[in-house]
Subunit: 188 residues, 2 copies
Amino acid sequence: MARPREFDEQQVIEKLMNVFWEKGYEATSMKDLVAASGLLKGSLYGAFGDKHAQYLAALRHYDRTRIQAGIDMLRGEGTPRQKIARLFDHVIDSTKKGIFAGGCLLCNASLEVAAMDREVKTEVKTTIRRLKAAIIEALQPAVPNEEQAGSLASFIVSAYFGTRILAKGGAPAAMIGATRDHCLRLIP
Amino acid sequence: MARPREFDEQQVIEKLMNVFWEKGYEATSMKDLVAASGLLKGSLYGAFGDKHAQYLAALRHYDRTRIQAGIDMLRGEGTPRQKIARLFDHVIDSTKKGIFAGGCLLCNASLEVAAMDREVKTEVKTTIRRLKAAIIEALQPAVPNEEQAGSLASFIVSAYFGTRILAKGGAPAAMIGATRDHCLRLIP
DNA sequence: TGAATTATTGACTAAATGGTCATAAACTGA
DNA sequence: TCAGTTTATGACCATTTAGTCAATAATTCA
């Protein structure tokens, strides 16, 4: 019908996401996004809208890829306790590697942007609900009661998010390990 | 010896802190700080240095006032379990009030700034260490073993920080209540 | 009083910000 | 081939940014 796109949208969104992930929303400039995407400003705006729309697209991409990967991990092999353990081990691993400073984009968005931004808040709430549901599912064999599982899942999400703050603030990995161990104790 | 300051430094720092607390570091402009402080730009720079120095001063002020208030709460009356409960109840209360959107400045700094800023990271680490030490102290009657108390305190800090993310992301207060209840279960 | 010192004031700046737009280019179907 | 449609390009813009500075004012000590 017309001139085709010269880039792969998903690949570009991945690059945009990485910038927001590492630098945060406010600290990211259009110049950064232009540089990372390889596109020119006009194309970026044409394809993804303004900075705010690009951020939302990045959040949704994070949900579809990274959060989904976590959910897949929760659906893998093992006992409920082993499944939850994997969640925390992933944080410990990335702390030890210590190269990528982004932490968890969902947590970053929640603290930096969500409180002042309705659309971001909605996106964050949706993703947290999805994550929590997957945890409830993972707990099912050990905690068949739905209400109990929901309550325990809320707690696990809190503790998990807390480790992301500690990790990014430079706390020792032992604090994260301790959190993990105490969490696992509450799973029957 | 010379012309005296026309303002109270502590009062001004309190106002600067409130801006950073509510808006975050990057989203706060010098214009905001000038407006909130009531001073003019030159005076602000003269008294507190540049934006970054003002942020550090705000963080230290937060430690001296709000974190200290938390520590005082932990040193008050009651069993260890009651003391820790107060920490979470405070989060639940401010969620229910729902007026001030700042959450916890320490958490905000940890996620938004610490990873990319050595000085902020140092400040954050120091404050977290102070908070953790107070929790260990509060746990002492129930967990006299120092290593066990340290491990449990790490976990409590994580869970507590996690609730601050949930609260700011718009999660229901029930999730925070659930976190609180599960945490308390791990205190003998 | 007057020298010395520090604080206040607000105009000023250079750079960066997010965002737009007219033009040229690439593609499709008729 | 050519009209119609979408994309790419980069120059352009108003605004905002953090930060400076020279002039003036207020204070103290001698």
